[in-house]
């Protein structure tokens, strides 16, 4: 009886917490397709707000994808070899390097953005281009790629594989391409999903680094929250959910698969 009571109490509590998280998201989704939120869903269902968002903000959505994939490209090109090097070399230097590249996770994005502005703000062309935002996103997402790949190296015996290939006469570059990268693929995939998801949603750095001509999706979101009617802001948020949820589901599936192995 008493256990039953505790169970019910905890269950209701957990339901309430879930409601706290889910209800506003649900409100936002419904508001995004409602003719008039103030009058409620009875006023009718429409896609006019989504269309309006597309008209006003399509550029931000496009730029966000460009930056997310450019960030992914840079973190792949710089992060995957670095993860291999850090694992192969090991020791103190590797730990220090890992510590340094992880720092951007511990320091608020606002501080990193200010640092970038103070250091490079006077390089006008660079400052005005989307590459300025790209740089911030690369610094912020790099640790996720490097760590996710290093986590795989810690579980597969990459050293034996590497030495085996070396003893057969494979050059370092061939070993990297044919042995290291294929074995690191699960980590690369997990890191890539993380990098794209984080880049698409990044606001703290981006708000400081953007210009009126380089607005990303979260910047547009903040803009619509401040100046558009609730239905438009909600429709925009809805578009963001639609973009981000497949990535989250893919991440979850990947984690589950790793878990089962």
């Amino acid at each position: 009886m008493r256990d039953r009571l505790i169970f019910t109490g905890q269950f209701i509590f957990t339901l309430l917490v879930a409601a706290f998280l889910v209800v506003p998201a649900g409100l936002s989704i419904s508001a995004g397709v409602t003719v008039n939120y103030f009058r409620g869903i009875q006023s009718g269902v429409t896609l006019q707000w989504v269309a309006q968002v597309w008209e006003l903000y399509a550029g931000t959505i496009l730029l966000s994808f460009v930056i997310a994939f450019a960030t992914l490209a840079v973190t792949l090109l710089a992060g995957v070899p670095a993860a291999y090097a850090l694992h192969a070399r090991g020791g103190r230097l590797a730990r220090i390097v890992e510590e340094i590249i992880t720092l951007p996770l511990a320091i608020p994005g606002l501080a990193i953005a200010l640092a970038l502005l103070l250091a490079y703000g006077s390089f006008g062309d660079f400052r005005r281009s989307w590459l300025f935002i790209l740089v911030g996103h690369v610094i912020f997402t790099m640790p996720f790629m490097v760590r996710s790949v290093m986590a795989v190296f810690a579980t597969v015996d990459i050293k034996t594989l590497d030495e085996g290939a070396a003893s057969l006469g494979a050059s370092p570059w061939r070993r990297f391409r044919d042995v290291i990268v294929p074995n690191a693929l699960p980590g690369i995939l997990a890191g890539a999903l993380m990098v794209v998801t984080l880049s698409l949603g990044e606001f703290n750095l981006t708000w400081m680094l953007h210009t009126p001509l380089t607005k990303t999706l979260p910047i547009g979101l903040a803009d619509s929250y401040a100046s558009m009617r609730l239905e438009v802001a909600s429709a925009y948020t809805l578009i963001f959910f639609v973009m981000i949820i497949p990535l989250l589901v893919a991440m979850q599936l990947l984690a589950d698969r790793d878990h089962k192995r």
């Binding site: 505790i6 970038l116 103070l118 610094i139 949603g201």
Partner: protein, 271 residues
């Protein structure tokens, strides 16, 4: 190319990117903090100037409250979800963790939908009490936003920690006559301490440094990230904002480093 030089070559792109776009700018930031009219003393302004100190205290209190409440909520829910199997459990877990990828701005909007001028809480309170409760645009709204942000993260850590608990210890305590409450207090909670420290540190550091939520809710909420932002953009007070952000960065980094040395697990704050 020898193996050794190939390894160095692999590290090169990362070293270049990190040095050029992180280490150098951060060094510039630290220097800029001392370039104000007061020189190095600019760094002490965060403690000596009454307005900044009040903001710092405000931010720390808010972050601490967020951490404590999040830990309590996440422990109750996380323990429940990990210990019981019932239909709909997977859906409930998915609901509790899906806001993980929401940026701070979106969290701010969620709070506006809950407690803003056209929000659900105001609507309900208007019908029940005939008065509209609107608190999204105050520090309470921000508190709610930080809860929204940190609960999913902390629940995941707690659930993982509960899964690793040795159920045998609890059974032993019970068989020795300990009450359910005593088992929780003396066996379960101490065993979860490392998870509390690790996830609590993340919640605290994130709440200290998060900017997007505060930005969406209102620009006049008195927390450190908003102060840095207004000093930089509105007052063009570069030295002060640099000194304040170095201070903020040091605080969050220190908390995470301390937590890591205590709990031994890697922690990260994002958002």
């Amino acid at each position: 190319m020898s193996q050794k030089s190939f390894v160095w070559f692999c590290l090169l792109p990362l070293a270049v990117v990190t040095t050029a776009f992180f280490l150098l700018p951060m060094a510039r930031l630290v220097v800029a903090g001392a370039e104000g009219p007061h020189g190095l003393a600019g760094y002490l302004a965060i403690l000596t100037e009454a307005r900044y100190r009040a903001t710092l205290i405000n931010t720390v209190l808010l972050a601490a409250a967020t951490t404590v409440v999040t830990l309590i909520v996440a422990t109750i829910a996380g323990m429940f979800l990990q210990r019981h199997r019932f239909p709909g459990r997977a859906v409930l877990i998915a609901m509790l963790t899906f806001p993980l990828a929401f940026p701070g701005v979106v969290v701010g909007f969620m709070i506006i939908l809950l407690a803003g001028r056209q929000g659900l809480i105001g609507d309900l309170s208007n019908r029940i009490f005939g008065e509209k409760f609107v608190f999204a645009y105050s520090i309470y709204g921000l508190f709610l936003g930080y809860l929204y942000f940190s609960i999913p993260r902390v629940i995941l850590t707690i659930m993982a920690a509960v899964q690793k608990l040795d159920v045998g210890l609890e059974e032993a305590a019970r068989s020795l006559g300990a009450s359910p409450w005593a088992v929780q207090r003396d066996v379960v909670l101490p065993a979860l301490a490392p998870a509390f420290v690790a996830s609590g540190a993340i919640a605290f550091a994130t709440a200290m440094g998060a900017f997007g939520t505060a930005f969406t809710l209102a620009t006049n909420i008195d927390v450190l990230p908003m102060l840095i932002y207004t000093e930089f953009t509105l007052a063009a007070n570069f030295a002060t904002s640099a000194a304040l952000s170095v201070g903020l960065g040091l605080i969050t980094w220190l908390i995470l480093a301390l937590a890591r040395s205590f709990s031994g697990s890697a922690v990260a704050a994002a958002g």
